[in-house]
Symmetry: C2
Subunit: 208 residues, 2 copies
């Protein structure tokens, strides 16, 4: 698993002349950073004086953020697999009509996977931003900046993932599928931006 690499080794691998890991992996890492920060804020709220009344909500948020962090971490690998499969499929022989047919069918599937994997990353990032919004006026006020950063990181991950959906769509021939995916990323982007702005707006009120 990529997450078993050191951060230095991951950055080196990202910067290397191998196209994977690439932008999709960065998107998932960014979302995972956001989710981890929400977990930290929740852990530093639970059991603290003055926050007894939100205990249950914070516990629920913590379960969700821990889960989102895991999901986003595993999506780093899923995205690399989808990308590598696409690259392998592009190298398939295309001499005979039969080879062309098989390659085309497999390519269409590979492009779908390469678009669907970052769509999952974008969705998990949106859930992370929504969590940030949910706890911004409830969690430990000393950690307010970390909630804002969580929203920004998850939003950066969301927009990065959307780019990776977009770049694959033109190669998918099914127009209905294409339109459906375009609509989904449009909604994810608008919602992500709204929840991020709401979260940071509330944060700014508290920072003063």
């Amino acid at each position: 698993m990529i997450a078993d690499m050191t951060l230095n080794a991951f950055l080196e691998e990202l910067a290397s002349n191998s196209p994977a890991p690439g932008g999709g992996s960065a998107a998932a890492v960014s979302g995972a950073l956001g989710a981890a920060l929400i977990s930290m804020v929740c852990r530093l709220t639970l059991g603290k004086k003055g926050y007894e009344s939100v205990e249950e909500e914070i516990k629920t948020a913590l379960d969700k953020s821990d889960e989102l962090c895991k999901t986003l971490t595993s999506l780093i690998d899923e995205d690399i697999t989808a990308f590598n499969t696409l690259m392998d499929t592009l190298k398939m022989p295309k001499e005979t009509p039969d080879q062309k047919n098989i390659r085309n069918t497999m390519l269409q599937n590979a492009f779908r996977k390469a678009a669907e994997s970052p769509l999952k990353i974008a969705s998990a990032c949106l859930e992370t931003i929504i969590l940030a919004k949910e706890i911004v006026n409830k969690a430990n006020k000393n950690l307010i900046s970390d909630i804002g950063v969580a929203a920004q990181q998850a939003y950066g991950g969301l927009e990065s993932a959307i780019i990776n959906v977009k770049v694959n769509l033109p190669y998918i021939k099914d127009k209905t599928y294409q339109d459906n995916m375009s609509k989904q990323i449009e909604i994810l982007s608008v919602q992500g931006q709204n929840y991020r702005d709401d979260t940071c707006g509330e944060m700014n009120k508290q920072i003063g």
Copy 2:
């Protein structure tokens, strides 16, 4: 160094009930992801047919992005040190007038460091976004999405770092210093957004 931890261990540490690493570290990691992606795009452009005329510019960009990635990685640790120093200073005795005086002076220094470290992160993130803009119409077109992601990641890092500057400013008593820092983060934010939008605008033209 934090970057010697595995990504999993870092996320676990971030999510733990220890306040450091926190949002400042996440900001620096996000910027480093952006810089690393620019390095990847440059490496996959150099020596490629059709890109001979931009060879020198891409080499210069690569040197800068490799350097920015290193800088941002070392800023993860600098930010944690600044935060921990601040926490230690807050715990200093404040019984006698002398103790109060010493503590107050040291606290002012500690708050400045805690604001200046994320300011450095924000500056390095802006430089990364500017690099993305510089290469968006020059580098290998197959990697266009990675340039967009680089801009988004560095912008996420910039906004996250700015939050960490902002949250420390109210505690700094020197009004001139405060105003100066506020102006700097305002400029960084506006420039970051403009360069990100320009980069993604150019990217979208290419994706179609």
